[in-house]
């Protein structure tokens, strides 16, 4: 069977415009949360978010590095983040200058949960105010979810599969899992895979606030708002950014002497068949998703060292934890599980990709990132190492990422240190 490894990483997060800055700040326990600067939040119930910082910030993002000025003007920020993260990943993999033969066998699977909401909002307002003749000719293709994959394939000449997953907050994990299967099925040798999101705009914040999903009680203390597993958690903090990995067929990577971060060994998917926004109360779907990923990997819970949890800082945290405890049994004592959403917020369609990259870096550096703000662990968390407050050095050979989305969609990905 064709094996799939990770040979390049790219990140744009509220903690940095690249992989190493984001990771360093995450391990240092920094929070990306703050008062929203992007728009006037008057009358909004939620006024905080984890924004990607501007280029002049200590850990800001400079879109001019990799994204054409004209493209930046035409597309929504989620596409800009996605193009940049894809470029970082290709550079990291030493693949930014591929041969034509390689390009025919290289594809993209970079999705988004929602797509270009800020642009849909602003162009709709323009339509209402000034009429249809003022709607941008780039309106449609500047907002479409598959246009990260489209833009990236055009920029780098990638002629293999061109795919984009849309499964709400499990998009990033599904994107990587699906792309890994494309390599396994011999559709491609190289896939850029991941997810991106940017919905910090008036209608995005209002919509999630009205759905009672966002934290609305900590507007005066943004860095304390995202507190997965804590008794006082009451909603997620919206994040934004992108995560993209280069997936590559193992022999292909070895033959060109590529640096190999990890192997994608397990991928599980399931549906809750229960409710549009609430998870199944017993975490039935989450359980089966993790179980399938383990089975595909030929692993048992004893083989997993770190879980990067979905853990959004909502009531659902303990449902996911319950499913993990049931699946892991006594092995729960040997695993570390943290939610990095405590630091970077919830990147929605980008979350699973960004968090899978954190899993890969945990394997590389033998350290697991913390769950911030876990001051008073909720009932049911006893006996589980949720890595409160500070990063923890430990052996990490294999790591699992959980990502769950509205509509009851679940994805679990397992990455592992490569063995011959």
């Amino acid at each position: 069977m064709r094996r799939v490894v990770v040979t390049g990483l790219g990140l744009v997060t509220p903690l940095g415009g690249d992989v190493e800055t984001s990771w360093k700040n995450l391990l240092a326990g920094k929070s990306g949360a703050g008062t929203i600067t992007r728009f006037d939040t008057t009358d909004q119930k939620c006024t905080i978010a984890c924004e990607v910082k501007p280029a002049d910030h200590e850990y800001g993002f400079d879109p001019m590095k990799r994204v054409d000025h004209k493209v930046q003007r035409q597309v929504d920020p989620f596409i800009v983040y996605g193009i940049d993260a894809a470029g970082q990943a290709l550079e990291d993999a030493g693949l930014s200058d591929m041969t034509d033969e390689q390009k025919l066998r290289a594809g993209c699977s970079i999705g988004s949960g929602i797509g270009g909401l800020p642009g849909i909002e602003s162009e709709s307002l323009l339509l209402a105010e000034k009429g249809p003749g003022r709607v941008s000719p780039h309106f449609v293709h500047g907002r479409l979810i598959n246009l990260i994959s489209g833009q990236v394939s055009i920029k780098y000449g990638l002629m293999g599969p061109n795919h984009a997953v849309v499964t709400a907050c499990s998009t990033g994990a599904h994107s990587i899992g699906d792309a890994a299967r494309m390599i396994r099925d011999d559709d491609a040798d190289i896939m850029l895979a991941g997810g991106a999101e940017s919905t910090i705009c008036p209608i995005g914040i209002a919509g999630f606030a009205q759905a009672r999903a966002l934290n609305m009680s900590s507007n005066d203390a943004p860095e304390k708002a995202s507190r997965p597993y804590d008794k006082d958690r009451d909603g997620f903090v919206m994040g934004e950014g992108a995560g993209v990995v280069v997936l590559e067929e193992y022999e292909h990577a070895k033959a060109r002497g590529a640096k190999i971060y990890a192997e994608v060994v397990g991928y599980g998917l399931s549906g809750d068949a229960y409710h549009v926004t609430a998870p199944h109360p017993e975490g039935f779907g989450a359980f089966r998703s993790m179980e399938m990923a383990l089975k595909k990997a030929g692993m048992t819970p004893a083989d997993i060292d770190y879980i990067n949890a979905h853990g959004t800082s909502t009531m659902a945290d303990t449902i996911e934890l319950g499913a993990v405890k049931r699946l892991f049994g006594n092995e729960i004592a040997n695993v570390s599980m943290s939610s990095t959403k405590s630091a970077i917020g919830h990147l929605l369609g980008g979350a699973g990709a960004v968090e899978s990259i954190f899993c890969i870096l945990a394997i590389r550096d033998q350290i697991v990132p913390p769950t911030l703000n876990l001051d008073n662990p909720d009932e049911g968390t006893e006996g589980v190492d949720l890595v409160p407050h500070t990063a923890k050095k430990r052996a990490v050979k294999a790591a699992l990422n959980n990502s769950f989305g509205f509509g009851g969609t679940n994805a679990s990905l397992i990455v592992k240190a490569v063995e011959d």
Binding site: D68, H69, K70, R73, G133, R134, S136, P137, H138
Partner: protein, 78 residues
């Protein structure tokens, strides 16, 4: 150079992300400045907005160079 010409060139630089010195009056949007047909639609919209003129589709189709745009605006602005 007229005031309109200055403004037209500024809009072109901003929308197409090209160096200001490339935006000569003879420059063709498509051949010299890297625009595609949608970029021209967007430029025409920006000219309409800036100068308060209406540029109907048949007139817009004839705007190929920076000078074409300046001339149309000079002749039609209110």
């Amino acid at each position: 150079m007229s005031d309109s010409a200055d403004k037209v060139k500024k809009i072109v630089v901003e929308h197409l992300g090209v160096e200001a010195d490339k935006v000569t009056e003879e420059a063709s949007f498509i051949d010299d400045l890297g625009a595609d047909s949608l970029d021209i639609v967007e430029l025409v919209m920006a000219f309409e907005e800036e100068f308060g003129v209406e540029i109907p589709d048949d007139a817009a189709e004839k705007i190929a160079t920076v000078k074409d745009a300046i001339d149309y605006i000079e002749a039609n602005k209110g």
